[in-house]
């Protein structure tokens, strides 16, 4: 994969070599099970607690409020199902949005099967949550509001602070899926006011297979994984010590490097946006113009389908993604773009470029160079076009 230009950091990031180095001793030198009492285990336990402190520090939380999980999806399922089940006596209503990641959406769908009611709040054309609809959907049975911090497809950042205010006024727990924001923009659980917050290591140069859930002290929540006495009885399972150590280091690196990185990514993103919209006709930029992740560019290119563009980009050594149904296991194009009012066929022509730590202006320029001819070639094959507009 020598000269690959990787522009899919919202899907996953390469693990930072400094993270891997920190993990290595915990595979077969300090391999003890942290729950055991001998010295070897003590080393593992100490490393785990140090990582917990790093995660807590990044979020401005207390270490005891951090529970390690196996991925972002587990953190989301834990938060959503855990709060719903633990507070069922109070009510059976949950509020979320139409543009959540499937980890939250499908956890909610499962709750519906278990007798819960779920409200899926709309978004505007930029992907911003409809706060009035949110307010109107609250009932005295609402136990949880779960709204993502930033959307993974279009990068729109949601007004979590306002939503938390609404939740607080109504005595409702507030969870945010911050899988796409932790390590990328400032995430402060007290500033945001949330009760629960999910993150995933591999989205910010930590390893795959580890995530965390922030649970504010006093929050009533059921476990998702029941078993041994791990993680203060909140998440059972022998701890993935190397993964947890890696997550801790990823958090430390984020604290040191995030701010500068954010500026760099914004410059790259703007360069790409400007270059593509200048050189290709009929391109629509998705997401909020300002309240958007600095490294995310999502566009719809009319008359062509996303997967075919991705394959040709891949042929040129460029990795990106699309909201086309053809790139996922599903049959519908991106639920996020659809919720933003974009037609199915236009949604099929979406491309997402997500920049990261290793990218340079040269990478961006290569995309600007190769994408236009790819698009013209595919448009020549397309039964649509300006003259026969069907979009």
């Amino acid at each position: 994969m020598g000269n690959l230009i990787y522009l899919d950091h919202n899907a996953t990031t390469p693990t930072d070599p400094r993270v891997v180095d920190a993990m290595l001793p915990y595979f077969n030198i300090l391999y003890g099970n942290p729950s055991s009492i001998y010295s070897l285990a003590g080393e593992a336990a100490k490393a785990k607690e140090a990582a917990r402190e790093s995660v807590a520090k990044l979020l401005n939380a207390k270490p005891q409020e951090i529970v390690f999980t196996g991925c972002g999806t587990e953190a989301d399922n834990f938060a959503v199902k855990g709060v719903a089940f633990a507070n069922r006596a109070k009510g059976n209503h949950v509020i979320t949005s139409k543009i959540e990641h499937h980890a939250v959406l499908n956890a909610c769908k499962w709750l519906e099967k278990q007798g819960f009611d779920v409200s899926y709040i709309s978004v505007d054309k930029y992907g911003g949550l409809d706060l009035d609809e949110l307010k109107g959907s609250i009932t005295d049975k609402t136990v949880l509001i779960t709204i993502m911090h930033a959307n993974n497809e279009v990068g729109t950042i949601e007004p979590i602070k306002e939503i938390t205010g609404i939740a607080k006024d109504n005595g409702i727990y507030m969870h945010t899926d911050a899988v796409q924001t932790v390590g990328k923009i400032p995430v402060d659980v007290n500033e945001l006011g949330v009760d629960l917050l999910s993150l995933s290591g591999h989205k910010f140069y930590g390893p795959k297979g580890v995530g965390a859930l922030f649970i504010r002290k006093g929050t009533k929540i059921d476990s998702l994984l029941h078993g041994g006495h791990h993680e203060g009885l909140r998440r059972a399972g022998t701890e993935n010590v190397p993964g947890i150590v890696g997550l801790g280091v990823a958090c430390e690196l984020a604290m040191e490097e995030r701010e500068e990185e954010e500026k760099k990514l914004e410059a790259l993103r703007d360069r790409l946006e400007e270059g593509i919209t200048r050189s290709i006709d009929d391109v629509i930029v998705n997401g909020h113009p300002k309240m958007r992740l600095s490294g995310t560019l999502n566009i719809c290119i009319k008359y062509v389908e996303g997967e075919s563009m991705l394959l040709q980009l891949d042929h040129e050594g460029i990795a990106a993604s699309s909201g086309s149904a053809c790139t996922s296991g599903s049959l519908e194009p991106s639920h996020v773009l659809r919720a933003m009012g974009i037609s199915p066929i236009l949604a099929h022509g979406s491309l997402r470029f997500s920049m990261g730590r290793g990218n340079t202006a040269r990478d961006i320029d290569k995309v600007i160079e190769v994408l236009p001819p790819i698009v013209s070639r595919l448009r020549e094959m397309s039964p649509f076009g300006k003259d026969k507009e069907k979009n």
Partner: protein, 133 residues
Amino acid sequence: MMYSEKVMEHFMNPRNVGEIEDADGVGQVGNPVCGDIMTIYIKVKDDVITDIKFKTFGCGAAIATSSMVTELVKGKTIEEALTITNRDVAEELEGLPPLKMHCSLLAEEGLKAAIEDYKKKQERKIRDSRIQG
């Protein structure tokens, strides 16, 4: 890569892309929600498909199957063309991922739609010539 080399070859260098202005049959199949739309144009002479072209909006598999079906069919009689199934197309492409089998179905259906259109037009011509005659 989830696609075979053959699929990629047809996707990168599709055969018979385009429209036929004075086509004898045109078929459009697909569904914008699923993201695949295929239009097939045929020229027929003495029951033989002498020319065929396609335009496809769709994923790699959709474009490759479009290309492959046009290649398989060119020069064949209508009757022969009608025996071609989506499995034949997929096999000629050295297989398709399970989730993409529906694209090969699209190719089969697109071809059949074009032939049907051709037949309808023929019937109409015959009817018209009767009326004239």
